[in-house]
């Protein structure tokens, strides 16, 4: 069992621990510029796919790399996926009356979306 010693506490408190997986050999499923639609899914388990973005369409803006996949780690599982910054218009997220030229960027995993074009 790991032991918490006084020496490691300040670092943990200040910075936490990174969830990035640096040695994963996992090709990206999506490319920057791809139009992608978020899945409409309502799992009873943990997910970072927020309700307000389910079913919505955006554009992959950046590939962050590979990270531990929260949805399985939260249930004591193991797994990692590519994570991307996806750009959504306010109009797409909130509908009529909202801007088509203001954007929200949300981080998304491979499993959260499908390619549209």
């Amino acid at each position: 069992m790991a032991v918490l010693t006084p020496e490691i506490v300040p670092g943990l408190v200040a910075g936490g621990a990174s969830a990035r997986v640096v040695d994963a050999d996992l090709p990206a499923k999506f490319n920057v510029g791809d139009t992608v639609q978020m899945k409409n899914t309502n799992p009873s388990t943990h997910t970072r796919l927020a309700r307000y973005v389910r079913g919505k369409t955006g554009v992959v803006n950046m590939h962050h790399g590979v990270f531990h996949f929260n949805d399985v780690i939260a249930h004591h599982g193991q797994g990692h996926q590519n994570c991307y910054s996806v750009k959504f218009t306010m109009l797409e997220l909130w509908g009529e009356g909202y801007s088509a030229t203001d954007y929200v960027y949300i981080d998304m995993f491979d499993d959260y979306m499908d390619k549209v074009s």
């Binding site: 069992m1 918490l4 799992p43 943990h46 927020a50 780690i73 997220l93």
Partner: protein, 103 residues
């Protein structure tokens, strides 16, 4: 999980009024709760995502009415009971004992 933690787009919570020079801890009991996180992490009882999911499962009313560190305490209780470290009966017995001390 569709619970109250997923608040994006909701209205009606009123203004956010940040305190000036806000203290890190508002009550003494919050300090050991903060420390618990690192002990349980190092001990392998929790990880950040298991912890977050336990907060999602607090119950929606408790979540809205509870303070930040009450959420942490509730999550630790859930996870320590689920992991078999303590039982609800042991927690209840200790609570009864502590109430007795206060009277």
């Amino acid at each position: 999980m569709n619970s109250i933690h997923d608040m994006g787009g909701m209205e009606g919570f009123g203004p956010i009024n940040p305190e000036e020079n806000e203290a890190v801890f508002h009550y003494e009991w919050e300090k050991p709760i903060f420390g618990f996180f690192f002990c349980l992490f190092a001990g392998g009882q929790i990880n950040v995502d298991v912890f977050r999911h336990a907060i999602e499962r607090l119950g929606n009313l408790h979540y809205l009415e509870g303070s930040y560190y009450e959420h942490w305490l509730g999550a630790f209780q859930t996870l320590l009971v689920e992991g078999g470290t303590v039982t609800i009966e042991e927690i209840d017995a200790k609570m009864t004992e502590l109430k007795g001390d206060a009277n």
